[in-house]
Amino acid sequence: MLEGILIGLTTAFTGTNLLMVIGGCLIGTFIGMLPGLGPMSIIAIMIPVAISIGDPSAALILLAGVYYGAIFGGSTSSILINAPGVASTVATSFDGYPLARQGKAGKALTVAAIASFCGGTIGAILLMIFAPMLASVALLFHSAEYFALMVVGLSAIAAFAGTGQVGKALLMTLLGLIMATVGEGALFNAPRFTMGIMDLQSGFGFITLAMAMFALPEALYLVLDPARSNNEAGGEIKDLRITRDEAKQIAPVIGRQSIQGFLIGVLPGAGATIASFLGYAVERNIASKEDQEQFGKGSIKGLAAPEAANNAAATGSFVPLLTLGIPGSGTTAILLGALIALNVTPGPRLMIDEPEVFWAVIVSMYIGNLVLLFLNLPLIPYIAKVLAVPRTFLIPFILFFTLMGAYIGQNNATELLILVGFGICATILRFADYPLAPLLIGFILGQMLEDNFSRSMQLEGGIGFILERPMTMGLLAFAVLLVVLPTYRARRARIRAQGIADGD
């Protein structure tokens, strides 16, 4: 492992790569602060830039930096104007915004930054320990197990993403898989489902889809409902210092939530949002009586908990991505797409074939966290000025960046029409409360899922491969359980609520 860290250090500490981390963090914070642009949209916009760099380590370092920066920027806007740019920082605003209203915005930002820093750092250490272990297990997997593992990942995402609406989330996953079959597959050199349209020959562009699913609906929501971007600043940012007493208060909270957040982040589909809400709830429950009173009114514990948890979870979500090649969240799915475009295949062999990519990413996580704490935090009062940009200027620019992201990826104007079309569909889907992340993850995993499926079919000469190895069977059974269990439990709870005995 020490050897790995050294490889990572030598790769990450080159001038270009350091510049990538710093630049990525700054850009991420800057854009993440804007309402309506979450980490997913920002990474999707940055992908063409990253791809044109060419060097996979540098590109991934840039994107990871953007990711952390965006999470940090999202927390800043939750604290300052109670407008969380991202779902995972909603819990931050519970206590952060009241603090800002009390004139302690500077203190709140510092607490948030320290909690994020510790969460991210502890997460990175755990990632360093867990990822090699998981990768060595994953090397034993055959295509059949990979297929089963991806099915497990997809059903977990469906089960966790739709709260109480597993059916809808599952439907979105399947729609994503169906969209992935459009175009020429890798194993069969025949175009499928193109309806004779030349532009569909190579399938849908994943950046286009990512933009249409996340950036465009958010921007349209901002247009539809001006109240969402109406911001009332919570006060001037001054006095970034915290006292020794406060540091002592939040230390155990950060420690607990970093570990819990990391473990939740590793699970597919759970991710930073659930980690932050759960972290907040757990800390409130175990706090002392008088501390509990403070939660929701500006408790620094209540601010530190979700911040530590969501950063640790963001780091944790890299574990399945880097070791199995299976993204656990929408953001890591986009990173996976970027990696594939850069000709890097994440998976257990990544650590053996391209250790410099793997370790450089981990080391750059540390550097990214340092940059956020020592560079971004002091700059926040200036970066926060971007919040004052009127929406009449902001929204056309967000839309324009969405268009550019899709255009420079493909250099094709038809792509823009597809973007608008899908964007409208995605907005309607959001109206009806369909989760969109499963669709994108299904789309990105679709190709790999089918390849592994076909390979196992060819090896075993038919569908019998499912029964051939107990591990495959077990994983598939687990996947079914994941989907059926929440539905079944919800049904039972409903029947019980109606006062009807349910038989047992």
């Binding site: 063409p48 830039v49 044109s52 709260t163 109480g164 609406q165 059916g167 809808k168 599952l170 439907l171 399947l174 729609l175 169906i178 079959t181 597959g185 069969f188 499928r192 489902f193 349209l220 929501y221 247009v223 539809l224 409902d225 001006p226 009127p390 929406r391 009449t392 200027f393 929204i395 056309p396 620019f397 839309l399 324009f400 268009l403 550019m404 420079i408 250099n411 104007a413 038809t414 823009l416 029409l417 973007l419 608008v420 964007g423 409208i424 309607i428 889907l429 959001r430 109206f431 009806a432 409360d433 369909y434 499926f453 079919m457 000469g461 038919g462 919800a490 049904r491 709870a493 409903r494």
Partner: protein, 162 residues
């Protein structure tokens, strides 16, 4: 019937059409030597279409009741009239116009037009800020994409060459 079930119905139609293509039309063009393979290009789509149709049907029929705990949706579509739907549609129209104009009119012209028109639609009337901002942004981004990233973007209208 609520909007989410109508959408599920549409997805059900898509799954059925997709399944029809997978089951009945795709295999006809398969060369004979590939038919000896245990897995055909249509195998995976067949499985997807069946599962997709079943799940869509269960959502259409409302087999799974919403247990989201009465979570308030971001936008209540039954009160769509209260929102700035006109502005949103206009901006979408602008995006389509941008897509169609990008090649013939060139990047600089269409981008400036898009940014200015977008601001105007949203109610901005301060021309002396809008025009310089739009000009500066389109020039700057053109430089970044063309010179720094090295991706070709035609700056001027088609009749000016390049």
């Amino acid at each position: 019937m609520a909007l989410d079930r109508w959408i599920a119905l549409i997805i059900l139609m898509i799954c059925l059409a997709y399944g029809y293509a997978a089951f009945f039309t795709m295999d006809a063009t398969l060369p004979p030597f590939m038919q000896r393979n245990p897995v055909w290009p249509s195998t995976f789509p067949k499985i997807l279409s069946v599962i997709g149709a079943l799940v869509a049907l269960s959502v259409v029929l409302g087999l799974e009741k919403d247990t989201g705990g009465g979570k308030e949706p971001d936008i209540d579509y039954t009160r769509l009239g209260d929102y700035k739907i006109g502005q949103a549609l206009f901006l979408l129209g602008l995006m389509v116009a941008y897509a169609l104009c990008l090649r013939p009119v060139g990047f600089l012209g269409s981008t400036m037009f898009f940014l200015i028109a977008g601001s105007v639609v949203l109610g901005e009337r301060r021309w002396f800020i809008m025009i310089p901002v739009a000009a500066f942004a389109s020039g700057g981004i053109w430089y970044l994409v063309q010179e720094v990233l090295g991706i070709f973007l035609r700056p001027w209208p088609f009749f000016l060459g390049v």
